[in-house]
Homo-oligomer: 203 residues x 2
């Protein structure tokens, strides 16, 4: 079997990262998430801080400034030319394609499902979860206070949706944009991982 | 294992009905499609008043027999056809709940995933597919001319989305509203059916 390239998109707190790690471990594949940001930073000339801070928080006003000025903002370290608002996404996409070209892997986030949509052997997955379960996970694993968890989740997911929409023209979380979508509250982390593995065998 | 109640929502032409039939056959469960639900709801003359007044008369077994035979029982012949959409949805929902109360089954369409959202042992599934594959299926199975297939699909899916949104307040086809969503172009009808069966075992 050719090793699959599995991309995972997820609601914040749904356990998508854990699922991705578990699937990667079972298949003996590399797992990429924040590591990917580092590589983007190195290869594109962005500062690590800029990418980490702005990866999924690129506001409209920032992008607008990019677009109208056509110049490198002073807070961007590095000095490579920035001529349009899609540069960061383009850099990320390039790295994602490079990583995928090296063989099977699991990539969480970064619109990788869209970037790799035409790659053979690619399985795109979306993970959702029930509100209460996501709040518990945010509290237990990310240390977010229960009272703040819901607002944090909404904000994070809104950012992800805006980012995805802006750069893909698709709707984040719409079932038809993924090969497989699963609710972690229904099946549990282990159950979802098993279903993803079974689906990967059917590619 | 308790027999699952599996509801299937689907894009027009995605093969969702075939998948539902195959899953039902494998599990030895009854299969109900939206046409059947409509016939039961329409011909039974389930006005809101009728439902309220005759609730005790409409036993589960009577309705089950009705659904299986597809014929109008004599005790319902006096009913009026339902023309009001809200009333029809109420009638459809009642039929769906009654059918599900009989035990394991597969139900396609009519917002059954929403109607049965709190029922234990319920697995809600959404099926999508790539445009080209859906066009082929529409042409081969429904006899729709290829030139007209895409417009027909768009129209049908728009109607489904509007209907779903109106009666559930949710977004049709949004991954988080289903336990499991699958792309039939990726896995094929047989592959999707196998994944659904595996997921049902994990309930």
């Amino acid at each position: 079997m050719i090793q699959p390239i599995i991309t995972i998109s997820r609601e914040f707190g749904s356990g998508g990262r854990q699922i991705g790690e578990q699937v990667a471990k079972t298949l003996g594949l590399p797992f990429y998430d924040s590591t990917l940001i580092d590589i983007v930073a190195q290869k594109s000339g962005y500062s690590l801080e800029f990418v980490a801070e702005n990866d999924q928080r690129i506001t409209k006003s920032m992008l607008f400034q990019f677009a109208i000025s056509g110049s490198v903002p002073p807070w961007l370290n590095g000095g490579k030319d920035i001529t349009n608002r899609d540069t960061l996404f383009t850099a990320q996409s390039k790295v994602i394609r490079e990583l995928a070209s090296q063989g099977g892997c699991v990539i969480v986030g970064r619109c990788a499902n869209y970037v790799l949509r035409d790659i053979p052997g690619h399985l795109s997955v979306f993970i959702s979860g029930k509100l209460n379960d996501k709040v518990k996970r945010c509290t237990a694993e990310y240390g977010i206070h229960p009272d703040a968890a819901e607002a944090e989740m909404i904000e994070r997911d809104r950012n992800r949706a805006n980012y995805y929409s802006r750069f893909t023209g698709e709707v984040w979380g719409e079932a038809k944009n993924y090969d497989l979508a699963l609710n972690s509250s229904k099946f549990g982390i282990e159950g979802v991982a098993q279903i993803v593995l079974m689906a990967a065998q059917k590619l």
